[in-house]
């Protein structure tokens, strides 16, 4: 609109009138239609590229200003107007005030949708910050309170058989609970890995009415509360069949909890194996057994490992089934068949029941050990997950590109355009827009190759 208005007056509407109806122009071929090219307006200034993204200085100023205003208003309210006590109340008041002030400030130079956009942005950032900060705080709180116990080497090498509630942290430890946890989870894995993976393969490879029934029942059992699983094993194995409260009973209860989790996640992974791979294998003449063993399982290996490890992380942290089935002991017991065997979650639970500060510190220390084991399992899952065929292909692809001298460093689109470089690879440009390395695209050609490359 602005360019039209600033045109020189020579291009008056009267000049356009004869050229406008094309019918009349065709009737009179003798008079050549004259076209007026309006004289270009003198450029007031060289055009500047608009900034489409990023933050403006006014955004930052609005945020900071609203924050200062909210804090000051809170201070006034808390000290002058109303007797507000406590950090929580002050934070709540400041948050509400901040939102009101910020919305007002933004509405000064933006319309309603933009104001809503800004307010939602601030709220979402705030919620995410609260969640992340709380979760990180829970972890650091546990480590902080348990540090006193963790600093003693005997915490990892001794059991609590000779340490009374009043003993200092220099005696006693949780070696028995660590060993107990490891034995119980190993027994549970020995039950669940073969059974769970066989069932997951069954669900995908032998479809039919029966496997649908199994899938429905397994899905239903994921809803089983862990305490009910413990109660079940307590009532059957211990009360009815007369088994001791022992590590074996505990691992049975953990297995009942882990089995549906593992089957469900393994089933999801196995269903993602491309049908073309299986068909290629059948087409080459191999049977179902060879196809599963040589194609399906290797393709899904990292996903299956993740399924197993996630189920393990759940199983090792379960307290309530162990509470009912394993019994409690302060002494070392490596025999899962006989006598009570304590595990890490149960040890935490028993430690913090005591009012003694040293026992509570031991409880927190044990919780820290348990979390470290869970983190270790997670890292393991990540490392193994990064080892699969698709990732290897992706990495090889990346190296090849780097060696070819092609820059796949993320670049802004604005950087690519003005050069007028016609040879810009459109694929590369797309990645430059998204600001990410091409991580997905090479997977597609990489993945189908990989199993055949493993088994030539």
């Amino acid at each position: 609109m602005t360019t039209l208005a600033s045109r020189p007056s020579g291009a008056a509407p009267a000049d356009h009138a004869p050229a406008a109806p094309p019918a009349s122009a065709a009737d009179e071929p003798a008079t050549p239609a004259r076209t007026h090219r309006p004289a270009p307006a003198p450029d007031p200034a060289p055009e500047r590229r608009r900034q489409l993204g990023g933050a403006r200085i006014s955004d930052a100023l609005a945020l900071v200003g609203s924050g200062v205003a909210a804090l000051s208003l809170t201070a006034v309210i808390a000290t002058q107007l109303a007797p507000v006590q406590g950090v929580v109340a002050c934070v709540a008041i400041a948050t509400v005030l901040f939102l009101v002030v910020y919305a007002t400030v933004v509405s000064l130079d933006a319309d309603a949708p933009a104001v809503r956009d800004r307010v939602v942005m601030v709220v979402v950032h705030g919620l995410a910050f609260v969640v992340m900060a709380t979760l990180v705080f829970i972890v650091t709180f546990t480590f902080g309170r348990g540090l006193r116990a963790l600093l003693h080497a005997n915490f990892f090498t001794q059991d609590m058989a000779l340490a009374g509630p009043l003993d200092p942290l220099t005696t006693g430890g949780v070696a028995h609970a660590i060993v107990g946890s490891l034995i119980q989870i190993s027994l549970a894995l020995a039950i669940t890995i073969p059974l769970g993976l066989a069932t997951a393969v069954f669900l995908t490879e032998v479809p039919g009415r029966f496997s649908r029934l199994v899938r429905t029942v397994v899905e239903a059992m994921t809803a089983l509360p862990s305490i009910v699983a413990g109660l079940f094993v307590y009532a059957t194995a211990i009360l009815t069949f007369g088994l001791d409260k022992s590590g074996l009973a505990a691992s049975m209860a953990i297995s009942i909890m882990m089995l549906p989790i593992m089957i469900r996640s393994a089933d999801v992974v196995l269903r993602l194996v491309p049908g073309t791979l299986k068909e290629a294998s059948y087409g080459l003449g191999s049977g179902q057994w060879r196809t599963v063993w040589k194609v399906v399982l290797p393709t899904a290996r990292s996903g299956l490992t993740t399924a197993v490890i996630l189920a393990t992380a759940r199983g090792i942290g379960e307290t309530s089934p162990v509470l009912l089935t394993s019994g409690f002991t302060a002494a070392f017991n490596a025999n899962p068949l006989h006598g009570p065997m304590v595990s890490l979650p149960l040890a935490i639970f028993q430690f913090v029941k005591s009012p003694e500060p040293s026992m509570i510190a031991r409880g927190f220390g044990t919780a820290a050990v348990l979390m470290m084991i869970v983190v270790l399992l997670f890292v393991l899952a990540r490392v193994i997950g990064a080892q699969d065929a698709a990732a290897r292909a992706r990495r090889a692809d990346l190296y090849a590109r780097v060696l070819d001298g092609i820059r796949v460093r993320p670049r802004a689109l604005s950087e690519l355009e003005p050069t007028g470089d016609a040879t810009v690879d459109p694929v590369l440009a797309r990645y430059a827009v998204s600001g990410e390395l091409p991580s997905e695209a090479p997977t597609a050609p990489g993945a189908p190759d990989s199993p055949t490359e493993e088994h030539p």
Binding site: G86, V88, A89, P113, R116, D117, V120, M121, V123, H125, G126, L127, A128, V130, V131, M132, T134, L135, I138, F141, T142, P194, L195, A198, T199, L203, F210, V218, E219, A220, M221, A223, L224, P225, I227, V228, L231, F232, A235, T236, I256, L259, I263, G287, Q288, R290, A313, G317, T319, S320, L324, P345, I348, F349, V352, I360, A367, L370, V374, V375
Partner: protein, 343 residues
């Protein structure tokens, strides 16, 4: 060769008629012995899992039946738990369980929705991967750790909040607190501890990571073309989220919330560590004393007689049925939504 198409020689010979009287060929698969054995093993795995899972359910039902027959319909209305004098019911514990879960979900839903939106829409690409890992990791933190934090940290810091809530919203019955006068500075604060509110808050932090994880997964799958279309039509980022991401992820939001609800209903240890059990319906969520089915089981299993065990089984069965309904509702909602088509 495992798959063998039956050759025409195997068919019954056609009775020398005209060539157009073709009999449709029967096509079948004859599997190699190794394959048949393999399928047998797989089927065996499926059958044994089905047997174990059904055994758990049937055994629970069978053992609970004894108590349910004695209690009759009063099982749902009685508040006390004295199975040995045949006077027991789950009215108090089931209401407590539902209240704790309600408090938990009403806190966890906005928190996880905000976090999931932040990770999928706002976070810088470099930070995103770390945040996804962190949330997944937090989903695997044992519940006893959350219980420790709730008992040793949160409980003491929440009494002021609870007192303020109960003073300001005293007209709203669930938030009222009896037995204390907020204007009396000497009144005890212990009436605000060990409440449904505290337990629900701890459980909400426990279920927030898993809910966030599911919602984030679905939000990230929202089609790029539709996102860019919304932005190209001039919508703000929030406009794009509201018109593309949230409608696409509605199934994930509901499904994730239901899954969190199921976890909250079944949570034992974190609740057991915080609440002080009472056996009457406690509607006042801020007031000391509540109960839940799972902590009832953890509390009473050791001293239970055979009949008492049967009564606990009945309570456990009720809880199981409750979480079962929630889970199936979640999966059917998620499967019917757009984002759940593939799974």
């Amino acid at each position: 060769m495992a798959t063998v198409l039956e050759s025409p020689a195997d068919l019954p010979p056609s009775p020398g008629g005209p060539p157009d009287a073709d009999v449709p060929r029967r096509l079948g698969t004859r599997r190699a012995p190794a394959d048949r054995a393999f399928r047998g093993v797989l089927r065996g795995g499926g059958i044994s899992v089905l047997a174990i899972m059904s055994f758990v359910g049937i055994f629970l039902l069978a053992r609970a039946w004894q108590a349910l027959r004695v209690a009759g319909p009063s099982f749902l209305t009685t508040q006390d738990w004295e199975p040995d004098s045949h006077h027991f019911g789950i009215a108090a514990v089931i209401v407590g369980t539902l209240l704790i879960a309600t408090v938990a979900v009403s806190f966890a839903l906005p928190l996880s929705l905000g976090t999931a939106l932040y990770i999928s829409e706002y976070a810088p690409a470099r930070l995103r991967r770390a945040l996804v890992t962190l949330v997944d990791l937090m989903a695997a933190v044992p519940s006893v750790v959350f219980g420790l934090w709730g008992f040793f940290f949160l409980q003491g810091h929440l009494t002021d909040v609870a007192r303020w809530l109960s003073t300001v919203f005293a007209w709203f019955p669930p938030l009222a607190v009896q037995g204390t006068d907020p204007r009396d500075p000497l009144s005890t604060v212990t009436v605000y501890t060990s409440s449904t509110f505290v337990a629900g808050l701890v459980v909400s932090l426990m279920i927030t990571p898993i809910m966030t994880s599911i919602m984030r997964e679905v939000f990230m799958q929202a089609p790029v073309g539709e996102r860019e279309g919304a932005l190209a039509l001039g919508s703000t980022r929030w406009g794009m989220i509201r018109s593309v991401v949230l409608p696409y992820g509605a199934g994930g939001i509901i499904g994730g919330t239901m899954l969190g609800l199921g976890r909250a209903l079944g949570e034992t240890i974190a609740v057991y560590m915080i609440i002080s059990p009472v056996f009457q319906v406690q509607w006042h969520v801020l007031q000391n004393g509540t109960n839940s089915v799972s902590s009832l089981i953890a509390l009473r299993y050791g001293e239970a007689s055979t009949f008492g065990m049967s009564a606990l089984m009945a309570a456990g069965l009720t809880l199981f049925l409750l979480t079962l309904v929630v889970n199936f509702a979640a999966s059917s909602i998620a499967a019917r939504s757009r984002s759940g088509q593939g799974t």
